[in-house]
Symmetry: C2
Subunit: 241 residues, 2 copies
Amino acid sequence: MVSGSVQNINTWLNQIQTDFKAAVSVDCVIFGYDNDALKILLSRCDMPPYEHDLSLLGDLVHPDETTDEAARRVLVNKTGFTDVFLEQVQVFSDIKRHPLGRVITIAYYSLIKIDEDHLEHIGKSGLWEWKNVNEIQSLAFDHYNIMHTCLDKLKKQLREQPIGFNLLPVKFSLLQLQRLYEVILQVQLDKRNFRRKLKSLGILKELDEIETSVSHRPARLYTFDTKVYEKKKIAGFAFDL
Amino acid sequence: MVSGSVQNINTWLNQIQTDFKAAVSVDCVIFGYDNDALKILLSRCDMPPYEHDLSLLGDLVHPDETTDEAARRVLVNKTGFTDVFLEQVQVFSDIKRHPLGRVITIAYYSLIKIDEDHLEHIGKSGLWEWKNVNEIQSLAFDHYNIMHTCLDKLKKQLREQPIGFNLLPVKFSLLQLQRLYEVILQVQLDKRNFRRKLKSLGILKELDEIETSVSHRPARLYTFDTKVYEKKKIAGFAFDL
DNA sequence: CCAAAAGTGTTATATTTACACCCATGC
DNA sequence: GCATGGGTGTAAATATAACACTTTTGG
């Protein structure tokens, strides 16, 4: 047995070059938010025995890229976006998780502004579809498990950092933002306390614009002040809701 | 190019079986706490060009184990402990990170009660050594980087969960615990507020024992109440210090 | 004028911070 | 008896939580 003794360079070389290799993939849980629902971008799986299931978007990690780069590549190819929120979550390495052999996968989660034009087209292309998180009962491989791990991480980060903006249009109302938190965290929030809290963080920029074509008093629109945020992030701040 | 189009099963099979494979390893940042200092267990590296550097403890992931199992195997082999705190941190996959070829590594961090007898022996065996975190200037491979990522994660978790106990003897005084937080988080804490906070969490069990052989008034000893903790963890609790 | 969401302050409660002295023990 | 850390409480400041009504718009 190798371990327990000092590592030997020849042992390593042997192992690296022979059977101690595995295929490594990335799988992206791409979250979008639309119609007061949290959604995930999924694709039809064409691999037995999962031909009739949906699966996460992923690919093998190429020899010339890091896993982060691979995840970003998958995202860019599938959504067209280059500048999106993307975060590494966890490794999934059960020996039997993939039917074709040992494939170790790194899970990532990503936040997308779903309402952009071409993203709707993607949804209509038939290759991929947006599915409500609540309505997903099962997925191919261990992807259902991966999805839930990423969802838990999203919830945690949402409480710690103001990342919710990444799921909304550039301009949004405070109620939209509140609903987003309520839907994802599955809590109910007080309108006045929520607004006070957010304004006190100083990362919202009030715009001179208001909602249009709503059949009630239009709400003021806000945008996310990236510059202030970056400054604050370094100091570190909590975001307890 | 594969990605962008629907995944094809034959492409996958080809890639998995040929050049799209990588060696996968685990590297453990094993933290211990002794003499008011945070330490890490390191080993001498015997691989060029790092022959004169220290490195983290790690090994290749075997074909019949998950990465979590591999990390635990490394820990058990090196420290003898089976029931230790062990947490996956992050993947490191720079293409040139390993001199022998592509090796993707999964970083873990672990918390050890350093004061157990056989652990001191380990430290004296010459194969491994405990080194103060503050005194580490560089490590082999990208291990210095890995170490700092794990240290950051430790600091974060220490603020969110009462994991500090894992670094202390089973029985400890409140001052010991406070010093541990101060050393790791690099803050100064108020003795009374710290005690109030901890007692209010209800995860400390007051023992009928006191310190011995100290040249001042001996402190009451406490132990960590795992059962209460497990119950509370499910509900989720913050631990802001 | 009705429906729907926008917008706005105050009070009570809980949490956090700051702070100083006497106590028990070993030498 | 002196050095060392052990142990304790209170008051002020801050943060959080609960709560209801008027306003603006479209139809």
